[in-house]
């Protein structure tokens, strides 16, 4: 079975610093794929490269037969890759329902002219997306909060809303960036179930960046470990758990050895960009 999402020798420099070095991933359809590593390993950068937020310096990224590298982020979303963000990014002034409806915009047939004329197409689109959004909100148990401001939701619900919004795109691949951050043991257990359920129900492929080993080890089929931007290990959760390189990389981080979750939200060290303007040079 060939891979759905394929990264080949992907490399990214920030100035002189190599944030991601020669990373290759082959993620099979319907897999739940884990991307782990210590802080600053370049996991989120890999997500940003896949979604086009950063430009890849070397290598190729493909979704099925589509080359993603030349596409803008919005086009990559259209191609079927949806994501969530490490530090939740919702549309604060918009209601919960509207957050989802924005994501429906890209499958719209009716254009702006149609919106002004309030044509039949416009109504058909609006009705369709409204129905989809409402059923997704039900699925994520946010139905009764549809008209609330998205900023008024609790932290956990904001995470759920972000996933629901991503699902509104009907993606082929869902990239989850630390969905368990800040969750306690029980919530993390729930998250594991939800991820599997999402994969089965929506015929998804899930890529997971996560520090919570309880979640990663419990839900992933395959895991790739990064350290300092370089791939150091790849395999099933059992193989990774006993890999010496991985243990060395995580030295001092007991969570892996114990297979237990840590509910300290992981803060990625800011990668200093030497390109950034020096104050006044």
């Amino acid at each position: 079975m060939s891979a759905l999402l394929e990264l080949a020798s992907v490399t990214k420099y920030f100035g002189g610093l190599c944030a991601v070095s020669d990373v290759s991933l082959a993620i099979k359809k319907n897999a739940i794929f884990g991307l782990i590593g210590p802080n600053g390993a370049g996991k989120t950068t890999v997500f940003n490269l896949i979604t086009g937020v950063y430009k890849t310096d070397k290598g190729t990224i493909r979704l099925g037969a589509t080359d993603l590298l030349p596409l803008r982020p919005s086009a990559i979303a259209r191609a079927g890759i949806a994501r969530t963000f490490q530090n939740i990014r919702l549309f604060g002034q918009l209601s919960v329902l509207e957050n989802l409806l924005v994501a429906g915009e890209l499958t719209k047939k009716a254009g702006i002219f149609s919106a002004v004329m309030r044509s039949r197409h416009h109504h058909a689109d609006e009705d369709l997306h409204l129905a989809e959004a409402r059923s997704l909100l039900e699925v994520f148990e946010l139905g009764d909060k549809a008209d609330d401001a998205s900023t008024s939701l609790s932290y956990g619900n904001q995470r759920k809303l972000e996933i629901a919004r991503a699902m509104m795109l009907k993606p082929k691949v869902l990239l989850l960036d630390e969905p368990a951050a800040g969750m306690n043991y029980g919530e993390a257990e729930g998250l594991k179930k939800q991820i599997r359920w999402l994969r089965d129900t929506f015929d998804l492929t899930v890529v997971l960046v996560e520090h919570n080993m309880q979640v990663v080890m419990g839900v992933c089929d395959e895991i790739q470990v990064l350290d300092h931007g370089e791939p150091i290990a790849y395999g099933t959760p059992e193989q990774i758990r006993t890999d010496e390189k991985v243990l060395a990389a995580y030295l001092g981080d007991e969570s892996l050895a114990m297979g237990q979750g840590t509910d300290v939200p992981a803060v990625e060290l800011p990668v200093k960009d030497p390109n950034a303007p020096e104050a006044h040079s």
Binding site: T44, F85, Q86, Q93, N275, P277, E278, A279, H280, S281
Partner: protein, 290 residues
């Protein structure tokens, strides 16, 4: 050959003066990421302060009178700059990045500019006031002043505690504050320096070009801002380079017999440069952390 030399010399003089004003935009942008629209009006106020001072010192030796006028005008505009910052910008700081708030600093900056311009209109009337002709040749003075200021500023930014604090603030305000830098004070000093440079530029400009009037800031201010953007906003050598390019370009355009306003080609060059190098000639972009 001689024909093209004259516009070049004029252009360099003009350009170094534009650069002095451009520095104010650049410094404030570097620290606050804000287009300080009021800067052009501070320039205008500077020229009035200078004029009044020169009128007061009319009997003195021209060099001494000019020096005193410069000091007084620089002091006056510094106070003005700090006041603008205090009332129009500081209350907005630390409010986070909510959508509605993103353009608010631009709006208050524009408001401050309109406020000052109309205040001048009321206080000084709209008429043009001629500057005394103190020197036969002002161009060497302009050029020399600009170069000295540029070097001094570069040293301040690179070598002093204040410069270090300013650069830290520019990179990450929150981290700078956590490291014990008193950000409000650094920002205030930045405004003071930028504003006093505007006064310097204003007096040099008026000695060279003649009149002070309330709407003078609009044209020069816009050109200086374009220079700052062209050179790479936030960069001191960039402001100098942008100013010189603009000055020379303007004079060459006049020399070529172009019938329209000099601003048209200047503007076209700006858009062309931004298309190729969005951060300006010497600037650099920073990717947003996601």
């Amino acid at each position: 050959m001689n024909g093209i030399l004259a516009p070049l010399v004029t252009g360099i003089a003009q350009g170094s003066m534009i650069a002095l004003i451009a520095l104010g935009y650049s410094m404030v942008y570097g620290v606050l990421k804000l287009i300080n629209f009021a800067h052009s009006e501070i320039f205008m106020m500077g020229s009035f302060f200078g004029l009044f001072a020169l009128q007061h010192f009319a009997g003195l030796n021209p060099v001494l009178a000019t020096a005193l006028a410069m000091i007084l005008a620089m002091f006056g505009t510094s106070l003005l700059g700090i006041t603008v910052e205090r009332f129009a910008y500081r209350p907005l700081r630390g409010r986070g990045k909510s959508s509605l708030l993103r353009i608010t600093p631009l709006v208050t900056a524009l408001g401050a500019s309109v406020f000052l311009q109309n205040l001048a209109q009321l206080l000084f009337t709209a008429r043009q006031r001629p500057y005394p002709r103190l020197f036969a040749q002002t161009r060497p003075l302009i050029f020399a002043t600009a170069v000295v200021v540029m070097i001094a500023l570069e040293l301040v930014v690179k070598r002093t505690w204040f410069g270090k604090a300013m650069r830290a603030l520019s990179t990450n305000e929150e981290a700078a504050r956590l490291m014990g830098i008193r950000t409000s004070r650094v920002i205030g000093i930045t405004f003071a320096i930028g504003s006093s440079l505007a006064a310097l530029g204003a007096i040099l400009y008026c000695l060279d070009q003649g009149d002070a009037y309330p709407t003078m800031g609009v044209g020069i201010g816009t050109r200086a801002f374009v220079a700052a953007v062209l050179g790479g906003i936030g960069s001191i050598p960039g402001a100098m380079l942008g100013g010189l390019l603009l000055g020379v370009l303007g004079e060459l355009v006049k020399f070529s017999g172009f019938e329209g306003s000099v601003d048209i080609p200047v503007f076209i060059v700006l858009i062309a440069v931004l298309l190729v190098r969005p951060a300006g000639l010497l600037g650099s972009t920073r990717a947003e952390k996601v």
